[in-house]
């Protein structure tokens, strides 16, 4: 087990989605594994490679466990998002990691440090990021794998109100980033890789595109789960071909659409980091040889639906989107997305400041809330987690009762720093005391949030707590009222406000998991790194 916070395992779903990974189905929803050592304790440390990896490769864990059995080499994997993990490597060096296994090394390769960080890399498998549409939507739009729309066509469909979609946050998840890059590159119309100078021209079409953005998430796996559970929420989702081709909605497989201008394909390079020991190098070579062998390549293709050396390209020609060669371009694109074009977030944070939070925990909370004001940002990308132009955030403390609302809005022409400093001052004034009335407080917040929710924003509630519910209504009461629609009255969009929860200290993770499942949200176990949990949850808002 490692300390860095991974992306939580997708919540298993039994209906709709026919995912085949045994391991995923076995992962409990609320108890989130921090790291997975594939192959158990039999493999010695010298024969184990410590790997920082994207959560996308969780579905390989059964094959990796078999690998440990058959060749005696294992991976000790810590999961983290591609951009996040890369930023950490670039700023902190390999540290405890001997290797990485992200969906792609594209982003890492943009940093000057990459040459010094990467010893060698071997792509193991691949999967493009495409649009998976319900068969009904595909028929209505007249699109098919053989007759794919261009990105221009996609935007026109959104403008006409006939296409809504889900995609992950480009900051937290490689599939969301790939989707954004596909769109921006195609819409720039240059025919070559996107350059920073091309970006101003794509602001308008990207903004139009965002109007159809109905489902968001911080991870590809969770987006797929969410869509499978709630297929009415969008006409389709952007995700890996490997994830989408395993899904069906209403008994019908999704129609996979690769926009005619091009898609971005993840190629999953297993990468040996510089400075790895002789033992690690030997282990790396043995593992790559094993994973690249014909039998394992075939099994990867069968069990994960990714393309490998044993699969042949399909009949339809799918064009590949070139990737920008400069870091500035990528950062400018992300900045544009969050500051100008993305559908803005309306966030409600319900913050536990009961007596048990006094002392170190309160300090940890203040630091973690700094994620939302940018004062904890350690990279250009992390600063995008702060409250962005067009977004609104309400922070409400609760203990025995719900405290007053502190609401912060940032308009497009406002200096963010000023508002962020006001938020900092409010956060620093938090004090601990009293009981923990989770559900009574949440009921009040949901009613307010529902009253304000519109389809033009992503409205969500985050409940942070470090203890069990000790006052006011309990979960059963809440569930009853929630199911009766008491908290969505008078709203155009209120029925679908997801409630996310951050479990800290003695919080009851299982109960919070039940709560978030009820509302279409997700629980995050903060472990000992509350700031990382806040960073991660921001990807879902």
């Amino acid at each position: 087990m490692r300390s860095r916070r991974p992306e939580p395992a997708p919540v298993p779903s039994t209906a709709g989605i026919s995912r085949r990974s045994v391991l995923m189905a076995a992962a409990p929803a609320a108890v989130l594994p921090l790291a997975a050592c594939t192959g158990g304790g039999d493999v010695s440390e010298e024969k184990t490679l410590t790997v920082l990896a994207g959560s996308e490769i969780r579905d390989l864990e059964p094959l990796l466990a078999e690998m440990a059995e058959s060749i005696g080499y294992a991976l000790d994997i810590t999961y983290q998002g591609t951009l996040d993990g890369t930023d950490a490597l670039v700023s902190g060096g390999p540290g405890e990691y001997q290797a990485t296994w992200f969906p792609s090394n594209y982003y890492l390769s943009l940093f000057q440090q990459s040459a010094a960080l990467i010893d060698q890399q071997s792509p193991i498998m691949s999967s493009p990021v495409v649009l998976g549409l319900t068969s009904e939507a595909a028929a209505r739009l007249g699109w098919s794998a053989a007759q794919p729309p261009s990105w221009q066509d996609l935007i026109e469909a959104v403008r006409a109100g006939s296409l809504t979609f889900g995609m992950t946050s480009p900051l937290s998840s490689n599939s969301g980033f790939s989707t954004l890059l596909e769109a921006a590159t195609a819409l720039s119309g240059t025919g070559t890789a996107l350059a920073a100078a091309d970006i101003p021209a794509v602001v308008e079409p990207l903004t139009a595109f965002s109007a159809g953005h109905a489902l968001t998430a911080g991870s590809s796996g969770w987006l797929a789960e969410r869509f499978a559970e709630n297929p009415g929420a969008a006409d389709g989702i952007f995700n890996y071909e490997s994830v989408l081709s395993g899904m069906s909605i209403g008994g019908q497989p999704l129609v996979l659409i690769a926009p005619s201008d091009g898609v971005v394909t993840a190629d999953y390079p297993l990468t040996l980091l510089s400075g790895a020991s002789e033992e690690a190098r030997t282990a790396y070579q043995a593992i790559v040889a094993h994973l690249s062998s014909e039998e394992i390549q075939r099994r990867i293709a069968e069990t994960t639906r990714r393309r490998t050396s044993t699969t042949t390209a399909g009949d339809a020609v799918v064009f590949e989107t070139p990737y920008p060669a400069s870091l500035e371009t990528v950062q400018a694109l992300l900045r544009t997305w969050f500051e100008q074009t993305r559908k803005p977030s309306r966030m409600w944070f319900q913050i536990d400041t009961s007596g048990s939070m006094a002392g170190e925990r309160l300090e940890a909370l203040k630091t973690a809330l700094g994620v939302l004001t940018g004062r904890e940002a350690q990279s250009a990308n992390e600063s995008l987690l702060a409250l962005q132009p067009r977004e609104t955030l309400t922070i409400r403390e609760f203990d025995s009762v719900l405290g007053p609302a502190h609401t912060f809005s940032l308009s497009e022409d406002q200096d963010p720093a000023g508002v962020h400093r006001e938020m900092d001052a409010m956060i620093d004034s938090l004090e601990a005391g009293g009981d923990t009335a989770i559900y009574s407080s949440l009921a009040q917040i949901l009613q307010e949030a529902a009253g304000e929710a519109t389809p033009e924003t992503f409205t969500s509630v985050v409940v942070f707590t470090d203890g069990e519910n000790t006052a006011g209504m309990d979960l059963a009461d809440f569930r009853k009222a929630y199911s009766a629609g008491e908290y969505s009255a008078g709203s155009s969009d209120g029925g679908s406000i997801p409630v996310f929860a951050i479990a800290f200290g003695e919080a009851d993770s299982q109960e919070l998991a039940d709560l978030t499942e009820l509302t279409g949200g997700r629980v995050f176990d903060a472990g000992d790194d509350l700031t990382a949990a806040f960073r991660e949850i921001r990807g879902y808002l």
Binding site: A196, G262, E320, P322, S326
Partner: protein, 379 residues
């Protein structure tokens, strides 16, 4: 070199004694040496990724063992490997895919270098697809000469300078991409095959003459940069783009700059992934990549000598698509014929239109100038 704790202190001591006895300087690099098992010498090399499959082929390993050598290799881009810290201490030989890169390693390590040799070479080629060639043929860019296809560099470079999109070409229904016509290569900043492509393009742009003056070189920088910057991100080693070519089909990249041998090695192996739609074309003119071994130890010398002279190695090299020179020239054509693939690969004698590499200084100038263009892209 990190210590192998598992070997044990006593074993390590014996190894050291043997090192002294044998006077073998590269022993500190040995990892699994068995002091009682005979005279097998461990040799470690760093090679361009295009040669990794060769060195990891069990038959090649077995043949080296027959000569009492246990050869292991790491891979790196040919221009990158010279910058590896501790290159000459970690490795017994470096084996980039160009004589210019090899000479650079030699120049930077004059004391450690024992020998430089060029046992085999690979023509630069273009991996493409029949529908793509058909579109190019309709537009006068590709022609079939004898049995093999060739792509006219001047006509191609003209399309690039006009920023032609695939869907603007005659007959492009077969390949209706909105992307610009552009070869895909490796990263010019780190990889030899991209460097070879750049050298080739500079030769064509210079009216089929080697770029030999700084003025000629700087006049070409804009056009050459477009060939690489326009691609966006590129992989750092040549195995990458070809692997993508094989696994992704024409949509990934319609025209991929490769070494000819990569295509042959794939086509010759069992369960080849080369379909009848995949075609090897030669640029016209083309350019040879001269694989250049720079040795830092006796073990490295032994490896290079075998690769240069041994007929059994020549056959294995040919199976992997490398054309041996010297005493075993002609083995490649023979092996191609044995696979029934004569016609798909141009016989050695028929390369008439060959571009030459610019000097080390001109290459360095062009590579560095183009490389620096990657960093200034903000408006």
């Amino acid at each position: 070199m990190r210590s192998k704790a598992t070997a044990g202190i006593i074993g390590g001591a014996i190894v050291i004694v043997l090192v002294v006895l044998l006077g073998v300087a590269y022993f500190s690099r040995s990892t699994g040496f068995n002091p009682f098992g005979g005279s097998t010498v461990e040799v470690r090399g760093i090679v361009g990724s295009e040669k990794a499959d060769f060195f990891r082929d069990p038959e090649v390993i077995a043949l080296f063992e027959k000569h009492d050598l246990a050869v292991t290799v790491d891979t790196a881009g040919s221009w990158e490997m010279g910058r590896k810290p501790g290159l000459t201490e970690t490795y017994d030989f470096a084996f980039p895919a160009s004589d210019v890169a090899g000479r650079r390693i030699q120049q930077e390590n004059p004391d450690a270098t024992r020998s430089v040799s060029t046992p085999f070479f690979s023509p630069i080629a273009i991996a493409t697809f029949q529908p793509v060639l058909d579109v190019l043929a309709q537009n006068g860019v590709a022609t079939k000469v004898g049995d093999t296809w060739q792509i006219d560099m001047d006509a191609y470079l003209a399309l690039v300078s006009q920023d032609t999109r695939w869907n603007q070409l005659a007959g492009s229904e077969a390949y209706p991409s909105s992307r610009s016509v552009l070869f895909s290569s490796t990263d010019i900043r780190s990889s030899n095959s991209a460097g070879m492509y750049m050298a080739l393009a500079s030769y064509s742009l210079n009216g089929d003459e080697v770029v030999s003056t700084p003025e000629q070189a700087s006049a070409q920088v804009d056009q050459l940069s477009r060939l690489f910057i326009g691609q966006g991100y590129a992989q750092s080693s040549s195995a990458g783009p070809f692997e993508r070519y094989l696994s992704r089909g024409a949509g990934e990249a319609p025209l991929v700059v490769i070494y000819e041998g990569q295509f042959f090695a794939e086509q010759a192996r069992e369960n080849s992934r080369i379909t009848d739609q995949m075609v090897l074309a030669y640029p016209s003119p083309t350019i040879f990549s001269t694989h250049t071994g720079v040795t830092f130890s006796e073990g490295g010398d032994a490896v290079m000598q075998l690769l240069s002279e041994d007929p059994e190695f020549a056959r294995l090299l040919a199976e992997h698509g490398f054309r041996t020179s010297g005493p075993n020239a002609g083995v490649f054509d023979q092996v191609v014929a044995e696979h029934g693939l004569q016609g798909s690969y141009r016989p050695a004698g028929e390369f008439v239109d060959l571009a030459q590499m610019p000097s080390y200084e001109i290459m360095t100038y062009l590579l560095e100038t183009i490389g620096s263009r990657y960093e200034i892209q903000t408006p």
